[in-house]
């Protein structure tokens, strides 16, 4: 697996190991510059995300995690460079639950059903088969029991399970989770991540997990994209979460 510091002029670039074998690439970022209103937040990003990989996107608040995520999902146009999709991709996006307005009187089932909307054309009712498929997805995420309750009345962990069911209902091959453990207690966090790891392995899903939680990353992720101070570090957990490297990064953060 390759490790690339995308800013070769910086101190960490000496650790690049381009000689390692690469898995089949799914998404390649090619000299990407991202930001808002032509103001770059991150520049010169070149990395690739392999098929069926489990990648954690790490970084402090304001480091550009959301900007990178939005660009990957196609919600934000890059300022320069490009995002190359190397194989057919359906994103199963699991946003932060805080972004949903509690005013909508939607049940968990109604929220999960949105996952099949792409396959049901405008003006058509959702067929029974798609409804049944949504129920299966809810069952698979252990959300079947509370799917009839109001979505905004569910706990943080329950909401995440409904949203993951919605992502699975899209028949996604890439699961993108934006801080799924925010506002979720320790026990629910543990079972949620165990579940994500399980479906990643069983269904060969590519997982991109945005998080702050280093122990979680160490336990579940295989790859890391670490955004720090305008730089993007990409490598395996073993390579990036070594004590020396952590100390180096934390030292940089302190300074």
């Amino acid at each position: 697996m390759n490790t690339r510091d995308v800013d070769p002029s910086r101190k960490l670039s000496g650790r690049v190991r381009p000689d390692e074998p690469m898995s089949e690439s799914l998404i390649t970022l090619d000299n990407l510059s991202i930001g808002y209103n032509n103001q770059p937040v991150l520049s010169g990003i070149s990395l690739s995300i392999a098929c069926a990989s489990f990648t954690a996107l790490l970084g402090a608040n304001g480091s550009g995690k959301s900007t990178l995520l939005k660009t990957l999902l196609g919600l934000l146009s890059p300022i320069s460079g490009r995002v190359r999709i190397d194989a057919p991709v359906i994103f199963g996006y699991v946003p932060q639950t805080i972004q949903f307005d509690p005013l909508y009187p939607l049940t968990g089932f109604e929220v999960a059903l949105m996952g099949v909307y792409e396959r049901v054309g405008p003006g058509r009712r959702v067929p029974q088969a798609e409804r049944d498929f949504t129920r299966e997805c809810l069952k698979a995420t252990d959300a079947g029991e509370f799917a009839r309750q109001r979505f905004n009345e569910l706990s943080g962990g329950q909401k995440q399970r409904v949203l993951i069911a919605r992502a699975l209902a899209t028949k996604a091959n890439v699961l993108v989770l934006d801080e799924p453990t925010a506002g979720v207690d320790a026990a629910a966090t543990h079972s949620l991540l165990e579940f994500i790891t399980e479906i990643h392995e069983k269904r060969k899903l590519t997982v991109l997990l945005v998080t702050h939680d280093l122990p979680l990353v160490r336990k579940h992720a295989r790859q890391i994209i670490w955004l720090h101070d305008g730089r993007v570090l990409h490598g395996t957990v073993a390579e990036l979460l070594t004590p020396e490297r952590m100390a180096e990064i934390l030292e940089m953060e302190m300074s």
């Binding site: 939005k70 919600l75 996006y93 949903f100 909508y104 009187p105 909307y117 405008p122 959702v126 109001r150």
Partner: protein, 294 residues
Amino acid sequence: MDTLRQILSPDFLLRNSVYTSVLIGLACPLVGVFLVLRRLVFMGVALPQISSTGVALALSLPMWLGADVTAHSSQGEHTLAFLGSLTFSLVAILVLAFLERRGRGMAEGRLGTAYVVAAAASILLLSKNRYAEIGWLDLLKGEVITISNFDLTLTAAALAVVLLVLGLFYKELLFVSFDRDMAATLRKRVLFWDVLLYLLIGLTVSMAVLSVGPLIAFGFLLIPPLTAHLFADNMRQLMVLASLVGGIAALLGFAIAYQWDLPVGPTDVALLGILFACGWCAQKTISIARRLYA
């Protein structure tokens, strides 16, 4: 009950007004649900007012252009008013929604300014139009009396369009309202559905303003969805209940206004306010009772 029977009789002199009120009562809450859920309530205040400025301007144009205003037929005048109302509503909602999407500046300030300037402009325009005072000032006050067959047909057509578009594209409109990012990742044409929803709101508001005036239009856009929201467990219930609350309040409001010789618009809105207050008390009582017996 006698009054209700009387106003529902086909021979009732003001039957067009009754039917129009009820149609507006049924239609406005359906689009009002989306205004409330998208937290665009201020838009619901500003839009009817801007729409009525369109009516005032359209009615003043022939006079300014030196046309013989008295020679205009009632239907011609209403067509002109409809065009003014529709144009102003659609342009205003598209511009305001665009500014809202850009997210710059203070949205409430913008909408408040649009509301107050539109209200002032309507009064100024009508005060300089000697023919306007006959009926259009009544409209601004919410007097639903002079409803022609033409108005009634237009209102019925607008309700049909609202029902058809919401029935056909409910899931797309809901999806882009609730989670536009997810909709965009699934390659839904978010902007297209947004514009369709805004056009629907603009059409409904302009019809409502033309038939019953800005006061009732806003009342029916806002209060029935809020009342229904107290009890609805899902979106379908919210929309059906909101529309029913609007339709029933319009009918009862007309009956009360007729019985006690009150202006219809303010009666409808006051009745909606009472229904909302009763609904709120009932909902609180139910939730306290549930907690006690749980």
